[in-house]
């Protein structure tokens, strides 16, 4: 396979300008992530210490195999919601290694509001368990949650993808043969009680751990019965009387040691035999990505320069290099794994859409996972393109993509606007994992275009009622729309709302994808099969 020949000039003024801009953006991103992970009011930390509890990340540190990577998911979930009250959506999810097994971690973050479930907490847990289902991952739940955040209960309880989905997903996981272990560090009350109860194995910590459908105050109110926490759902009772939990632990440390011993007994199913080579670092330095990504979504860049800093040996076997050139397609290896890469190099035209559809068919036929590198302002508009069938060609691309049986992975590298988001495997299209770069933006159309469209609509409305459009009023509408867009198109907003599985520093993308691909191999890839393609 040939190495990509980089045309990047690291001495150019543009490279330096982009690099300076992006390094500042990365510093801000890492600061936000560090705050979400570690910055807590002293009283919350001392409350946990007084209860003889470890901080959630201290538990993870003990549980995970030393020296192994932990791919944290959605670390900035809820970052832009609830006035910042629930950093990380008060839970920690991710892929890690325990006793040599790849596992999905779902840990309550009791250092945030006692680990209470906000609506976005529920969304984050449901998404983590969806990932476990898609990738057949065993799950370890670290339970220490105060339960649903009652002031927002109507946003987290009744609907299909709300709290009930957690237990539905746990049941489905079990049916698929994925083991689950619960380590009960704190109270698991009401719905939360089903997390250990639906797990194959559970360990409960004496003194602090408890499992019950209703706590003592609720029992008192409902039936008048006076009962202590320990009698009602403590470690001794559940491990020797009810059989709701399996192992009694005198301390959190012992619970974690027991947990590791349990996981050590789990079977390790063989991985799908995807073509593999010996992994090799990229030839070009991934650090140069900071000088490639522009400081605006308006400016284009050659996606090959990004691919060259992501794949093994910077080598790409490019497919149809002279056809549909606004899309780069090709085969490469990433951490040794064979992958098919589809990256935007401009607007999607008729030919680039057909190229994408055909390339995805090749990947499905050859059982090669697909990586989508999104930087897309949309499908081309205009009479000439419509007459040539741009809409039906785009539909073919969407159909083949949506029906692809091979695992898909999406990275938002810059812009993601309009239907381009769909064709390139946006959130709605079940990528196994979708990651965003801090600079990336998502919206149904560009902010300028949206502001102008809404202004035009307003002018037409005024004209219909016989009023003359007031330029100041129009400008006010434009500015209001622009301000809203500013916030809601940003990667921080997307990630806060769980439209992705987390924001990545571009240089970390290669490793994150390596872990993601590895998890996708727990189940064989299916036979290619599509719906009706409008030819």
């Amino acid at each position: 396979m040939r190495r990509i020949e980089s045309g990047l000039n690291t001495n150019s003024a543009l490279y330096k300008r982009y690099r300076e801009h992006n390094l500042a953006m990365m510093a801000d991103f890492h600061q936000r992530q560090d705050n979400a992970r570690h910055h807590r009011p002293e009283r919350d930390i001392s409350r946990l210490r007084n209860q003889n509890k470890m901080l959630p990340r201290e538990r993870l540190e003990l549980l995970l195999d030393p020296g192994t990577p932990f791919l944290e998911l959605s670390s900035l979930a809820a970052g832009e919601a609830y006035g910042g009250a629930a950093p990380g959506a008060s839970c920690i999810t991710g892929i890690g290694v325990v006793a040599g097994r790849e596992v999905l971690i779902n840990a309550s973050d009791s250092s945030v509001k006692g680990g209470a479930w906000y609506p976005l907490t529920v969304k984050k847990i449901v998404r983590a368990l969806d990932i476990a289902i898609d990738n057949r991952l065993p799950v370890i739940h670290l339970c220490d949650s105060a339960g649903g955040f009652l002031p927002l209960q109507s946003h987290l309880f009744g609907d299909k993808y709300m709290a009930g989905r957690i237990f539905r997903n746990q049941s489905q996981l079990s049916k698929l043969g994925c083991q689950q272990l619960s380590l009960v560090f704190g109270h698991c009350t009401a719905g939360g009680a089903y997390i250990p109860a639906l797990s194959d194995y559970s360990v409960i910590v004496a003194g602090t751990g408890a499992v019950f459908l209703g706590g003592p105050p609720l029992v008192k109110a409902a039936t008048g019965e006076d009962v202590s926490v320990d009698e009602l759902g403590g470690a001794r009772m559940h491990t020797s009387v009810s059989g709701t939990c399996d192992y009694y632990a005198a301390s959190e440390r012992e619970a974690i040691a027991l947990g590791r011993e349990i996981v050590m007994q789990w079977a390790q199913p063989p991985k799908f035999a995807l073509q593999r080579e010996t992994p090799e670092e990229p030839y070009y330095d991934p650090d140069e990505l900071y000088g490639i990504i522009p400081d605006t979504t308006k400016a284009g860049f050659d996606m090959r320069e990004v691919i060259a800093r992501m794949v093994d040996g910077s080598r790409l076997a490019e497919y149809q290099p002279d056809y549909g050139t606004t899309l780069v397609c090709g085969f490469a290896n990433l951490w040794g794994y064979k992958v098919g890469i589809i990256g935007n190099n401009g607007v999607l035209f008729n030919d680039s859409s057909l190229k994408a559809a055909h390339f995805m068919e090749l990947c499905n036929q050859n059982r090669v996972p697909l990586i989508f590198l999104q930087n897309i302002t949309g499908y081309m508009v205009g009479k000439e393109y419509e007459q040539q069938g741009i809409t039906k060609h785009g539909a073919k691309m969407i159909m083949v993509q949506a029906c692809s049986e091979v695992p898909k992975f999406t990275v938002m590298t810059n812009g993601s606007f309009g239907a381009g988001n769909y064709g390139m495997c946006g959130r709605a299209f079940d990528a196994r994992y979708l990651f965003s770069w801090p600079n990336s933006q998502i919206s149904v159309m560009g902010s300028e275009q949206a502001a102008n469209t809404l202004a035009t609509v307003k002018i037409d409305q005024l004209r219909r009622t016989g009023e003359a459009p007031d330029p100041e009023q129009i400008e006010a509408i434009r500015q209001a729309v622009l301000a809203d867009y500013e916030n809601q198109t940003s990667a921080y907003y997307s990630s806060s709302e769980l439209w992705d599985d987390g924001i990545l520093d571009p240089v970390a993308t290669r490793n994150a994808l390596g872990i993601a691909i590895s998890t996708s191999l727990n189940t064989p890839f299916g036979e290619p099969r599509y719906g009706v393609l409008r030819l």
Binding site: K298, G300, V347, M380
Partner: protein, 168 residues
């Protein structure tokens, strides 16, 4: 395609013929039995037709530097694509619009000498700014657009008289 190596400046064809503990390789049509006992990444013993040679090797990108039996060899792999020769980009010096759009900036003037691939125009279309590069090296002979002006697909934006036409 038979693999080619440049050994101390001379091209040789080297074809592996058998895998396993001992390898038979064909060098320029002559077969040799070869075995290698590597001590580590950089040292070992090479056994060629029963004779043992200690070797030291270092790699710099695609080139191997080998000391063997008191002699020095520089071995480079000849890329299949290099050996096959590359097809040149076809086309003339006419720079046509890849899509409808608006001109944002013009970097060159009529009479300027340009290198192939040099940025000549910045256009904007579909919220995306794209630099348009010189298709060939030569002299700018015409600029048919102005900043702020719009154009249709395939419109002739800039013409470059190829250098080879000027200097036959």
């Amino acid at each position: 395609m038979r693999p080619q190596y440049r050994i101390n400046g001379c091209l040789h064809e080297v074809v592996p013929k058998r895998q396993g503990h001992t390898r038979r390789i064909g060098i320029d049509g002559r077969d040799l039995d070869v075995a290698q006992v590597a001590a580590d990444q950089h040292r070992g013993t090479l056994i060629v037709a029963g004779h043992r040679y200690a070797y030291h090797v270092a790699q710099d990108d695609g080139t191997l530097y080998i000391h063997l039996g008191g002699r020095h060899f520089e071995v480079g792999i000849v890329d299949e694509f290099q050996a096959a020769g590359r097809h040149d980009a076809d086309g003339d010096g006419d720079l046509r619009a890849p899509m409808p759009g608006v001109v944002e900036a013009i970097y060159v003037a009529v009479g300027d000498r340009v290198a192939a691939g040099q940025p000549m125009l910045l256009i904007e279309s579909m919220k995306l700014q794209t630099e348009i590069h010189a298709p060939v090296a030569g002299t700018v002979s015409a600029i048919n657009v102005e900043v702020g002006g719009s154009f249709q697909r395939n419109a002739l934006l800039v013409a470059v008289a190829a250098a080879s036409e000027e200097h036959p």
